[in-house]
Symmetry: C2
Subunit: 370 residues, 2 copies
């Protein structure tokens, strides 16, 4: 990492709308009204990191970091703003855009800053699976920010990786919450992912996958296709239902992934109490999650030629952080380490939005170096 | 089966609205307007059989059958009417009711008959999983028909069983189309079902299940979690996509079960061409489908005490009727027969709506016998 070459402070009086005439199109005026009320002179450069998921969206505003290794601890965060879902597949493009724009404006307002002070933005959002998704969001960001601002759009899992590697795009991240994905970068910039295709396309290691398998086990025990399991009593009790018959109605009245994934703790409790069906579901999920990571490590040769080279393995998400007696995350690491002993598990101390901000900073540094 | 005791012809002049004053509440007047235009005297008693599914709804109007064994072949069908989806879970209760009422009115109008001529109605509709579903529909049917009409409400799989057994509620039906369910009746009236809980709750043998597993296999081959398969080329070609990446977008833009199930022929073709991944998916689905039937047969002791007693096994649905070199239905029967050699496979020659009409007739006969 090299020091930024573009450290000249910028100074703009932000008292009139005319200050924003540099922007091609001025959208959603009211979102940015706060900038007109600022009487201050902005002389502090900032970066924005944004983590946009299906459940919530977080934006942090950080000052441009001085170049030093290691990074300051704790990392300086000027402001943090939150909003709801910003996955365009879930809420549609217009709503997703408005959420993203609002949360960035909130973070800037809270840090007493504005768009001219921004040097770089990294938007890491779920639902970005294609270069064309990336380009669509970039085009729209371009309309919001002045032309000097560097813009980067990534899948949200990249921010999660960066939250563990503090901005370095190297290694593999495994996310297992409601959904699951493994995403990795080689030092030469090649990237690869595994899973992350949602429940229809077989993300069985996810929280949704674990819980759906458990509900299925209850139905199968009830109709005679599967072995009896304590999951039946536990699930019915948890859901306030009196018979497995009623699970069908419960499931389809609102098949949202998060609602089903919220049942994972029931499966873990049953497994801890010795239920074999629940245990098998968790063991299968461990295999599935480990398989995703192994596929990425293999394709990117993250472990070097000998197969035992070190690489960061960032572990993120509710399923991996349960920290119970039955510790899914620990079992996944064990399973990966049998094949790749060089895996260095990292449980990030900062949130993915900070990872995104560090990414923005790193991209900026790299660009100014070139 | 005993002859009906209520064979007195009824005769009503249907020229005025007042003829319908016997009905407690007169709903949807316009649906039944045709009755006011009838100048004829109705002296032929009829029954209505209705098969209401998620894709379409069929109603047939049949004359009351004379008591004789065997039944006339072909069975006399006075009229047949069709409509769209009548599953209240899919289209809501109001739309489902209107569709059901309209299709019954159409069948009566086409057969130059009316509600006073109806002796019995059997409504076999998908989404009826509980006695309370049944009661709700019965209450509403009661408002439509004169009080002499016998009304029966069943799950649509019961009509499929009856289409194979010609109205006898005994044996087991296996339906495998977009979804799958096994439903059985013992001679003493006990009933049992297996599967039919939809894809979230593990109906892996269904057309949806087979196709979703095939799409998953393509994703897993692509990201390195699974073996290479010819399904990749075949599926992408079929869907007009250029990369497995694009499957995610294709799947979630419209995750309707029927749209995904429509890909089953691709899986069958690949299996026939020797693809091992496709073959495994079909073999697993055969095991799953056979398991559903075995669970029902076991719980109802359909095969007698020795385990080799004969019982009708009615096979219905696109997945079982493919009649290709890779014949899923044939393999399922083989698999069931290994455990229950008394299974007598039946491929119905009449449609489920006719099965429903025969059920109505049988119920009527049984009631008049008691």
């Amino acid at each position: 990492m090299l020091p930024s070459e573009s450290t000249t402070p910028i100074s703009h009086a932000m008292n009139s709308n005319s200050s924003f005439s540099v922007m091609k199109r001025y959208r959603n005026g009211e979102i940015w009204d706060f900038e007109n009320e600022m009487a201050v002179t902005i002389d502090r450069q900032v970066i924005l990191g944004l983590d946009g998921g299906t459940t919530s969206t977080v934006c942090v505003c950080m000052p441009i970091l001085p170049f030093k290794d290691p990074l300051p601890d704790p990392l300086p965060v000027l402001a943090r703003a939150t909003a709801g879902c910003s996955n365009h597949n879930s809420v549609g493009e217009t709503a997703a855009r408005e959420t993203l724009e609002q949360v960035m404006a909130d973070a800037l307002a809270k840090s007493n800053s504005n768009r001219f002070a921004v040097q770089a933005v990294c938007l890491a959002v779920s639902g970005v699976n294609h270069p064309k998704d990336q380009q669509r969001i970039l085009n729209w960001l371009r309309d919001i920010f002045p032309s000097h601002v560097r813009l980067y759009v990534q899948n949200d899992s990249v921010a999660a990786l960066a939250s563990g590697t503090l901005g370095k795009l190297q290694g593999c991240v495994l996310i297992a919450g409601t959904g699951t994905i493994a995403y990795g970068f080689a030092e030469d910039g090649r990237e690869a992912r595994a899973a992350g295709a949602g429940p229809i396309l077989g993300d069985w290691g996810s929280g949704y996958g674990i819980a759906a398998q458990a509900l299925t086990a209850v139905v199968r025990a009830y109709d005679g296709r599967g072995p009896q399991t304590n999951l039946t009593t536990s699930m019915l009790q948890k859901l306030g239902l009196s018979s497995p018959d009623e699970l069908i109605g419960w499931t389809y009245i609102d098949p949202s992934w998060a609602r089903i994934a919220a049942l994972v703790p029931v499966v873990v409790s049953c497994a801890e109490a010795g239920d074999q069906v629940a245990n098998k579901i968790l063991h299968d999920s461990v295999e599935e999650l480990a398989l995703s990571v192994k596929a990425v490590v293999q394709r990117l040769s993250l472990c070097g030629e000998d197969g035992d080279g070190p690489f960061p393995l960032v572990m993120v998400g509710g399923v991996l952080e349960a920290n119970k007696r039955w510790d899914i995350g620990k079992e996944v690491i064990k399973c990966i380490s049998r094949d790749y002993p060089g895996a260095i598990p990292i449980h990030p101390k900062v949130e993915p939005a900070v990872g995104a901000a560090l990414l923005a900073w790193n991209f900026l540094m790299t660009e100014s170096q070139n």
